[in-house]
C-alpha cells in the first residue's frame, strides 16, 4: 500500500514535470551562425520562422494566431520558431515580460546581430527587412515560401497545409 502511494506520488511528480516542460518556453540567443544553422536544418520537417519584435504592432497582433495554429500540428512535422528582433537593450525590460504576460509557449530565438544588412538576404533575397515576415521551409523536400506582412491564423494554416 505504501509502495502504491509512493508510486502515485512519483507518477504525479513525473507528470507535472512533463507538463511543465511542455509549457515551458525556450529562449535562445543567436547570431548569424545560429540563424544559418536553423535555415540549413536538413530535417524532413516544415519550419515556420516568424520574424517579429514587441515594438512592431502588426507583429504583436498576429502572434496569438501562431500560438493557436501551433497546437493543431504535430511538433514532429511542423516546427514553429519566433525570431525576435527586439533591440538588445530592450530584451530584459520588454521582450521577456511580454512573453510571460501573453503566455507565449512557442520557442523564441532572439537575433542578437543588429547588423541587419549582413543577414537579411540569407533569410530571403526578396525581403526588404520590414516586419512581420514569415519564412516556411522544408529542406529535405526542397520546399520554401517567404511571406512579408501579417498573417491571420486561417492564412497561416492554409499556407502550412499547402506545404505539408
Amino acid at each position: 500500500m505504501r509502495k502504491l502511494h509512493q508510486f502515485i506520488l512519483l507518477a504525479g511528480i513525473l507528470f507535472s514535470v512533463t507538463i511543465n516542460s511542455v509549457a515551458a518556453q525556450k529562449i535562445e540567443y543567436i547570431k548569424i551562425p545560429g540563424l544559418e544553422k536553423i535555415l540549413k536544418n536538413p530535417a524532413n520537417k516544415l519550419f515556420v520562422l516568424n520574424f517579429w519584435a514587441t515594438w512592431c504592432a502588426p507583429c504583436v497582433s498576429e502572434i496569438s494566431g501562431f500560438e493557436k495554429a501551433a497546437r493543431d500540428y504535430d511538433p514532429g512535422k511542423v516546427k514553429f520558431i519566433l525570431v525576435s528582433l527586439d533591440f538588445p537593450s530592450q530584451i530584459e525590460n520588454q521582450l521577456i515580460p511580454f512573453l510571460k504576460k501573453n503566455n507565449i509557449t512557442l520557442n523564441v530565438d532572439v537575433m542578437m546581430d543588429v547588423d541587419y544588412n549582413a543577414w537579411i538576404d540569407k533569410v530571403d533575397p526578396h525581403w526588404t527587412g520590414d516586419i512581420p515576415a514569415t519564412l516556411f521551409f522544408n529542406n529535405a523536400r526542397k520546399s520554401r515560401y517567404f511571406h512579408s506582412g501579417e498573417l491571420t491564423e486561417t492564412e497561416l494554416k492554409k499556407r502550412i497545409n499547402s506545404l505539408l
Partner: protein, 204 residues
C-alpha cells in the same frame, strides 16, 4: 521567324512589366514630386536651385525604429544641408491604419523635435510606391547630374538602429561624403529591419 517574334514579344512584355513596378535602384533616375510640407507649403526638388542632391528619408511619427533614428536624421541635415545635400523627410503611412501618422501629428512631431527640414505628407502613397520604399526609415540619396536626379544610395542610415555609438558603418554619411568628394559611393545598397509602410487597406 515565328519563334523570334514570340521571343521579342516576350522580352518586350517583361520589360514593360518590370519598369512599371520595380523599386528604384542605384543608377536610376528619380522623379520629382510636389508634396505638402508641415508648414502648409508644397515642396518639390526643383525649388532647391543650389542643392547638389538630396537625402530623402521615408519615415513617420510612430515607428520605433524611426524614433531611434530621429536625432540622426536631424544630424544628417545639420551636417549636409549647408554642403548642398538637404534632408527631405516623407511620411507615406496611411492615417487610418496608423492613427499617429496624420498630417496634424506630423506637424506636432516636427514642432516638438525641431525639424528644420521639409517633412512632407505623401497622403496618396504614390511617391513611396514610385520610389519602391517599403520600410521606415528607408533612405534614398540622390545627386544632380546634368539636370537629372540620379539615385546614388538606397537603404539604411547606418548599421546599428539600437545604439548610435556602436554603428560602425555609416552608410548615408559615407555615401554623401563620397559624392561631395567626387568619389564613388562605397556601399550603394543596404537592407535593414524596420516597420513596414502602413499601406491603405484595399476595399474589397
Amino acid at each position: 521567324m515565328k519563334k523570334v517574334i514570340i521571343l521579342l514579344a516576350g522580352i518586350l512584355l517583361k520589360t514593360i512589366s518590370v519598369t512599371a513596378s520595380e523599386p528604384y535602384k542605384p543608377g536610376d533616375i528619380a522623379s520629382d514630386f510636389s508634396l505638402k510640407n508641415v508648414n502648409g507649403e508644397m515642396v518639390s526638388f526643383s525649388q532647391f536651385k543650389d542643392a547638389k542632391g538630396f537625402i530623402v528619408v521615408f519615415c513617420c511619427n510612430t515607428c520605433p525604429v524611426v524614433k531611434k533614428y530621429q536625432q540622426r536624421i536631424i544630424d544628417l541635415n545639420n551636417q549636409f544641408s549647408s554642403k548642398g545635400y538637404p534632408v527631405i523627410a516623407i511620411n507615406s503611412n496611411d492615417k487610418n491604419v496608423s492613427p499617429g501618422d496624420s498630417y496634424e501629428d506630423m506637424q506636432k512631431v516636427a514642432r516638438e523635435r525641431g525639424y528644420d527640414f521639409p517633412y512632407l505628407y505623401d497622403e496618396s502613397q504614390k511617391i513611396a510606391k514610385l520610389y519602391g520604399a517599403t520600410n521606415t526609415p528607408h533612405v534614398y540619396v540622390l545627386s544632380k547630374r546634368s539636370g537629372k536626379l540620379i539615385v546614388e544610395y538606397v537603404g539604411a542610415i547606418d548599421n546599428n538602429a539600437d545604439d548610435q555609438t556602436k554603428a560602425d558603418k555609416k552608410y548615408v554619411v559615407n555615401a554623401v561624403n563620397a559624392l561631395l568628394g567626387n568619389e564613388q559611393v562605397p556601399v550603394a545598397e543596404t537592407k535593414a529591419i524596420g516597420c513596414g509602410i502602413k499601406w491603405k487597406k484595399t476595399q474589397e
